[in-house]
Point group: C2
């Protein structure tokens, strides 16, 4: 993997970059749609290609549970299994495993957990999650980390940071010695909850190792907007300028803008697809819910400014009707539109950085989405 910054905005830390991976290039900033279980929820893989996404994310925990490592190995990895041949980033499974609060135990060597499907016992070590990601064939792998819930005490957060750092060291060593590091990149993860001192320590320690990129975990997990902005503002500048930065599990348009302002390059989130299935749609004028009676006789497109297949083809009245009727097509169209919106939203930001007017773009969206 190779990362090149091609442009920096003149008044913020926002930047454009090109990420070269084994399966092609990715223009940053980038939003990655999520194929949790080897499929984007409610969308075909050709829709994803048509919208123009350059990279998707999949979840190591879910891939490990089903279809399992053996089947993925037989299939020749996830790219072949899905028949998707652009870059794939996988998380480490850490976030999912730590979300299974009652079903897991943490040890120095790793984390023991029970499958959410059949209750069977499993163990993830830093090495094991890399082995799984090797079979998946991820272009970008993530290290195993310990995630704390929000809010967490300083003590609990500090312990999690220590564990995260130990595991990062083990991961880096294991990666260097067992992987083609050019083909499968490895990103470290910064933890530390909402504590500036812990975030700082975590970054400093991680910088002893030459990871391909650096992710920020444990944000946008319920903390106030101001804390998200504060931790982002203090953490990102500590990261190496020439490496890609990835804000995990983020997020809403304004969270993404805030992070890009400080120099973050990569994002993933299930929110745009999840809210789509609930009828909530992004537009250039803010969010709308297509279920609303105000659209019953509205024969205009979802978003007059959107050029997507759905906006070019259907009216709000039609989309509302099929949503109310529980038609699966409504989930398809809503999801298509929201992901297209995210792609256009990011492209607009890229353009604004290229033209040294990122702050203008930031303010435009802040105005539109201020109440959300």
């Amino acid at each position: 993997m190779h990362f090149k910054i091609t442009k920096k905005d003149h008044s913020t830390y926002a930047r454009l970059g090109i990420l070269h991976t084994a399966h092609g290039i990715v223009h940053t900033p980038v939003f990655m749609p999520v194929a949790t279980r080897a499929a984007i929820r409610a969308l075909t893989i050709r829709d994803i290609e048509e919208i123009g996404f350059e990279i998707i994310l999949s979840n190591t925990y879910h891939m490990y549970i089903r279809p399992g490592v053996e089947l993925l190995a037989q299939a020749g990895g996830l790219h072949n299994f899905m028949n998707y041949h652009k870059p794939i980033l996988t998380d480490s499974g850490g976030f999912q495993v730590f979300s299974l609060a009652d079903l897991r135990k943490v040890y120095d060597e790793g984390v023991e957990f029970k499958s959410h499907i059949d209750g069977s016992k499993h163990f993830f070590s830093p090495q094991k999650v890399l082995d799984i990601q090797k079979v998946i064939g991820s272009d970008i792998m993530m290290v195993l980390d310990e995630c704390v819930e929000y809010p967490a005490t300083h003590h609990a957060s500090q312990k999690a940071v220590q564990r995260t750092l130990q595991w990062a060291a083990i991961s880096h060593d294991y990666w260097i010695n067992n992987f083609d590091t050019d083909t499968q990149a490895l990103f470290a993860i910064v933890q530390g909850s909402t504590y500036p001192d812990l975030r700082k320590v975590c970054v400093e320690e991680l910088l002893h190792y030459d990871f391909s990129g650096y992710a920020i975990g444990g944000l946008s997990v319920g903390e106030p907007k101001a804390e998200y902005a504060q931790i982002t503002a203090l953490t990102v500048p500590l990261l190496p300028w020439d490496k890609p930065r990835y804000m995990m599990g983020v997020g809403s348009p304004l969270e993404i803008l805030e992070a890009i302002k400080h120099g973050v390059d990569m994002f993933d989130c299930v929110m745009p697809t999840r809210i789509a299935r609930n009828g909530t749609l992004f537009t250039s004028k803010g969010r709308i819910n297509i279920k609303s009676g105000v659209y019953a006789q509205d024969f205009s497109p979802l978003d007059e400014e959107c050029q997507c297949y759905v906006c070019r083809t259907f009216t709000k009245a039609y989309l509302r009707h099929i949503y109310k009727m529980n038609e699966i097509a409504a989930l398809i169209y809503n999801t298509y539109h929201n992901l297209y919106f995210m792609k256009q939203f990011i492209q607009g930001i890229q353009k604004s950085i290229a033209e040294d007017r990122f702050l203008e773009e930031y303010k435009k969206w802040e105005e539109v989405y201020k109440t959300l």
Copy 2:
């Protein structure tokens, strides 16, 4: 509407035809996918266009209940509402209303029923269902008929035939005087359950009126295969040779073949899409269920002989995985494949008629689907 028979098979009554409608031409025999509630279940309208369907069916009862006549009128009809500009055939609502056994009462003037959604009372007369279909803008409308369940007594079936004939006379008169009969065609419906004498009487009486085409209702509703074949064989030859014949709600590959053999031109059925959502898929070698464990490690396509997007792109192992994971994409891919199969199945039949080898095609499929 204009119908032209272009070829007759040399050893059966199977025939090729071209149906000219206000929204374009339809090559018969034809299978019509069903957009019950203004959407094909689990598929986008561009998928339907890509597969190459020339006509779809929608349900008057469902359109009347939701979104309702007023909204359809505002939208400029169903073609505009769905943004689908090929021919649309609508049923009369009769079948749906008579399926609401506890919720309806039949009178000479029509049928009173309660909405399955909110229990509100409504009344369908022969004239009213045509008025609704006028608003829908159907290229081919159906008359209101009285459908009996299977099995039905001779007496009950006879009464239903009498009512169906009275309503057909009223419908024809109303159509002639209130419609542009070139733009909106009207088909009569033959009832009579499994009683040859009633089927015969019903056809004879209907032939007093010059309908655009003739449908056979009340078959494939649970009767034995032999009775389906017998009633089809005796009813179809009584219908005018130069008018399109439509077997309503049919059906399986073998039911369709049987009817085509006797000269039926048009079919609709939700079965291919419904079974797809249950994991059952048509192939050139018979039906398979993608849930089956035998496909867990099967990296071949669903159907080696199928050229559809799904068969060109994914393996059985992948399709099984996403189906088992309840991914909506599994419903999309399964539905796409089954409808593509139906299209190819019908095209194969068309080709066999053109080449005077329909019986060979019939026997080929009989062998493949004999146990089903």
